[in-house]
C-alpha cells in the first residue's frame, strides 16, 4: 500500500540520523534500512530513550546523578577519612590544593600547614607551607571501615601515603574533621532519604491517586479534599511539629526512617495528583475502550493497557520529587529538628555553617550547600528530560 495517506513525519529524526551517515557511502543504504526497521519495531521504551538522548542537558545531568549515587554507594571507600575522625591539631584548617605534577612527572602531593599567629587578633591560624610536601597516593591504606557494614577494608581511593599526615582537600571543621570525607558520607544519607521518601510517597500516591482517578465520584472528591487539606498546611511548621515528636532516645537509624515518613506524608500528594490525572486522561482513550470491548477485565485493563502507558510519566514525576525530598531533609536538619549528629547528612553539615562568623573565617563549611545545589539541579534537569521523553508519540 502506498504510504501517502497522512503519514505523520513522526520518525523523521531517526531517519535523518542515518541519512547523514548514508550520504557518502552506498553501503550505508542497507544501514539506513535497518535503522528504519528498528524504529518500526522499537517499543515505547526504546523510543523514549531515543528522545531522551536528544536532550543533551538531561543526559549530562543523568550522568551526574549516577555519579552522585555511586558516591553514596561507595562512600567509605571514596572518603579519605571516616565520618567522625577528628584531629584537634587541625581545627578550621583551610583547603589544600592537590598537586598532580611533581617536578615534571606524575606524582600527587599537597603542601603542609604552618601555624601563624595573626598579628592583629592574636588568633592562631593555618597557612599553607609551600616548603613541606605531603605525598598523596591512590588506593592507600588508612582508617579501617566496613563497606555496607560487612566488607572489612582499609583501602581508600585517595589519602596521604603516610597515615596521620594532614590532608584536607576541602578544609576542616571546628573539630578538625575532613569536610570532603564528611560531605561524601553525608551524600549517602541525603540521597537515600530522597529515594526512600519518594518510594513511600509513590506507594501512597499510586494507590490513592489510582483510586481517585479510576473510580472518580465520591472517592475522588474525598481524596482530593484530603490532598488539598494537606497542601494547605504550611510544610515547615508541620514537619517541625512532627519531628519534635520523635523521642530523642531513638537510635539514629530509626530517626532516619521517621524523618522519611514525615517527609512523604506531604510528598505523596503531588504524585497522587499526577497518577490521578493520567488515569482520568487514559480512562476515555479509544484504545482503553477497545480493550474493554475486547472483553478485558478491569484489572487487565489497568495493568496491561493503562499502567504501561503512564509508567514513564510516573518515573519522570518521581525524578522531580526526589530533589524536593532532599531539600526538605536538608531544611529540617539545618533547623536542627531533622537528623542529628552523629548521623552525617548535608543538612546536618550545614548546621555548622549557621554562624556568620564561622562562615566568614571558614567559608569552606558551605561546601555541603554546593553539593545540595548540584544534586538538586541535576535531578531537576534529568526529570525535565524524562518528562519530555515520557510520551514519545507526541512531537
Amino acid at each position: 500500500m502506498a504510504r501517502t495517506d497522512g503519514v505523520r513525519p513522526l520518525f523523521t529524526w531517526t531517519r535523518n540520523k542515518t541519512a547523514k551517515s548514508t550520504a557518502a557511502t552506498g553501503a550505508g543504504v542497507a544501514e539506513e534500512v535497518t535503522h528504519i526497521k528498528d524504529a518500526e519495531h522499537a517499543g515505547a521504551w526504546q523510543l523514549a530513550w531515543w528522545k531522551f538522548r536528544k536532550h543533551r542537558l538531561a543526559v549530562a545531568s543523568g550522568i551526574v546523578v549516577i555519579c552522585i549515587y555511586l558516591v553514596a554507594a561507595f562512600a567509605e571507600f571514596l572518603a579519605p577519612q571516616g565520618a567522625g575522625d577528628y584531629s584537634a591539631r587541625y581545627t578550621y584548617a583551610p583547603p589544600q590544593q592537590l598537586h598532580i605534577w611533581d617536578n615534571g612527572e606524575f606524582g600527587l602531593y599537597v603542601h603542609g600547614y604552618k601555624v601563624r599567629v595573626n598579628p592583629e587578633s592574636f588568633a592562631r591560624e593555618f597557612v599553607i607551607d609551600p616548603e613541606t610536601k605531603i605525598p598523596v597516593g591512590l588506593f592507600v591504606r588508612g582508617a579501617p571501615y566496613k563497606l555496607w557494614n560487612f566488607i572489612p577494608s582499609n583501602i581508600h581511593l585517595i589519602g596521604p601515603v603516610k597515615a596521620g599526615q594532614p590532608m584536607y582537600l576541602w578544609g576542616a571543621d571546628r573539630l578538625g574533621r575532613d569536610m570532603l570525607s564528611r560531605v561524601i558520607h553525608g551524600t549517602r544519607v541525603s540521597m537515600t532519604v530522597g529515594l526512600v521518601g519518594v518510594s513511600l510517597s509513590l506507594v501512597f500516591g499510586i494507590i490513592l491517586g489510582g483510586l481517585s482517578g479510576y473510580y472518580g465520584g465520591g472517592i475522588d472528591t474525598a481524596i482530593q479534599r484530603v490532598i488539598e487539606f494537606l497542601l494547605a498546611i504550611p510544610t515547615i511548621p508541620l514537619w517541625m511539629g512532627l519531628a519534635a515528636a520523635i523521642p530523642p532516645t531513638l537510635p539514629p537509624l530509626q530517626v532516619y526512617f521517621m524523618i522519611t515518613i514525615i517527609l512523604s506524608l506531604v510528598g505523596w500528594t503531588g504524585l497522587a495528583r499526577v497518577v490521578r490525572g493520567r488515569f482520568l486522561a487514559m480512562k476515555n482513550e479509544d484504545f482503553v475502550t477497545a480493550a474493554r470491548l475486547d472483553g478485558a477485565r478491569e484489572m487487565s485493563v489497568i495493568f496491561r493497557h493503562m499502567l504501561p502507558s503512564f509508567a514513564s510519566h510516573i518515573i519522570a514525576a518521581v525524578t522531580l520529587a526526589i530533589p524536593v525530598m532532599i531539600l526538605s531533609e536538608t531544611a529540617l536538619s539545618f533547623l536542627g529538628v531533622g537528623l542529628r549528629p552523629p548521623v552525617v547528612s548535608w543538612g546536618v553539615l550545614l548546621q555548622e555553617a549557621q554562624n556568620i562568623r564561622t562562615v566568614a573565617t571558614a567559608p569552606w563549611l558551605l561546601l555541603p550547600g554546593v553539593a545540595v545545589i548540584t544534586t538538586v539541579l541535576a535531578l531537576n534537569f534529568l526529570g525535565d528530560g524524562l518528562r519530555d521523553a515520557a510520551d514519545p508519540y507526541s512531537d
Binding site: M1, D5, L10, G43, L47, F287, L293, D294, A296, S309
Partner: protein, 572 residues
Amino acid sequence: MSEPMTADVLKVEKLSIEFQLRTSVFKAVKDVSFSIKRGGTLCLVGESGSGKSVTARSLLQIVDKPGRITSGRIVLTREAEVIDITTLKANGPQIRAVRGGKVGLIFQEPMSALSPFHTIGDQIDEVLQIHLHLEKAEARRRTIELLRQVEIKNPAEMANRYSFEYSGGMRQRVCIAMALACDPDVLIADEPTTALDVTTQAEILDLIKRLQQRRGMAVLLITHDMGVVAEVADEVAVMRNGEIVEKGPVEAIFHDPQHSYTRHLLEATRKLEHNSRERDDRTASRIEPVLSVRNLSKYYGSKQAADGSWSGGLRAVDDVSLDLYPGENLGIVGESGSGKTTLGRLIMRITEPTMGSISYRQADGVTSDVLDMRGAALRAYHAQVRLIFQDPFASLNPRMTVKQIVGDPLRIAGMARGRARDGRVAELLRMVGLSPDTMDRYPHAFSGGQRQRIGIARALALDPRVIVADEATSALDVSIRSQILDLLLDIQTRLDLSFIFISHDISVIRYFCDRVAVMYKGRIVEVGSSQKICTSPDEPYTRALISAVPSPDPRQKRMMHRVRFAPEIADA
C-alpha cells in the same frame, strides 16, 4: 505563463520551502509556481502532507519554524505597487502591513482562531485600528457593517458577544469578516470548511463566493475535497509531495485530467457518488433483525418528574428505533451533535441509555436483551458485535505490537495460544490487506490507512456478526477512504457481516449502505433505502442535507441550488 502580468494579483514563482531538521533537510514545497487573477478563485488541492498549507502560510511569511523559504518569489501586485513578499523582513512593518491588510487569511479551526477573552467586536475593531488607524467609534461602525456583510443577525448586539457564544459556522463568518476588514486583494482560505457540517459548509462557501464577486477579490482556497473544488474553483492546482503535479482551469482538470494522480483523486471521489451494492431492496419483513433498537433514549442532565415525563437537559438520543437485518449495511447519517455517535456507544453498551431497549438475536435464533447483559453474557455480546473507531491513532495502544493488539481479543477469550494465535493473527492481517511480516511492529510504524486496517483486523478477530463503524473513514484521505470501504465490503461478503455505519459524510454512506437512517437533534427523521435518501428524500431536513453535499463535477454545481432547511440557517 501566457496571461498578461497585470491581471495577476498574486504570482508565486518557483517557490521552495525547506524544514531544517536536526541532521537533514525536509523539502516541504518544491519549485511551486501559480498565479491568481483579480476576482478569480484558485483551489490548491491535495491530500494530507502534500504541502498545500505550508504554501499558503508562506504567502504571509508565517511558516512555522524551522521551515523557511529557500528560493522563489511571491509577487503581490496592487495597481502600480509591486511587492515581493519573500524579500520582506519577517515581522517587519512591511510584512505586517501585508498580513490582514493586503492579504487576508481564514484558518481551518474557527474555534481556535478567535480569542475567548475578547468580544468579537473588539477583535475586529483591533484589525481596523491597526491597519486603517480608525478611531474606536468609527472602527466599531465598520465592524458592525462587516458582520452584517457576513450575514450575522443583529450585528450591533452580536459584536458585544464572546466567541464561545457563537456556533462553528458563525465563528467562521467572523473569521471571514476579520479577514475582509481591510479590503484585501487576496483572501487565503486554508480548509475553511473542513471542521464544519456539510450544510454550514455550503453556507460558508456560498458567502465567500458572493463576497468575492462583490469586492472583486482573488481567493486562494486550500482544500482536500474535490467536491468543494468543483463547486467554487476557477482554476485548480493539484499538489502532491510538495509539487504541483497539474494545474489548469477547473473544467479541464475535472473532464480532461492529464496527470495520473489527478485522475486517481477524481476516481476516488467519483466512486463514492453511487452505491456499490446494486442489489434488490431486501424484503426485510421476512427476515428477523439481528439487532433491534426500540425507543432508545439518552438524556444528559434531564430530570424526571413524578408523572414520568422528562424535562430540561440535553437529549442526545431521543426515542430512537432501528432494525439491523443480517447481511445489511445500515447507515446512520447526521451532522455534528445529532447524536449518531452516542447511538453507536449505546448499542455497544459503552454508555448506558436512559431508557429503551436493545435486543440482539444470536446465531442460534435466541433473542436476548442487551441492556440486561452482565459479565460473561456481555463479553459474549462484545465478541459478536464489534466496534471500529474513528481515530486510527488513538484506538491502537501505542505500547503494543500489532500481534499483541490483534491477538488480544483472542488471548482474553482464550481461543488460541502460541503458534495457533500467531497463525490466526497472520490470517487476519492478510484478510485486511497487510503483510503478516509486519506483526512485530508497533502502530507508529504504520500510516493512518494501515492503522485503520489493523483496527479492522482486531474487530474481526472473534468472528463477529455485527460491526459498528463509528466514522471509520473520516480521518482518512479520500483515496484511502475508498480503499477501506472496499475492504469492508469485501470482508462483508466473505464473512457474512452486518454493518452499522455511522458517518457525517453522505458520499461514504451512499457508497456503502443499503439503508440509511438520518438523525437530527437526537431523533431519526427519516429511514429509507440509500438510493431513496440520496436522490429523493421525503423530509425537508434530509433534502437540505443532501442538496448541500458538493458535487465533484463543475458542470453540475449542486450546492448553489441547494434547498435550505429553515432552523438550520438560524443556527449557522
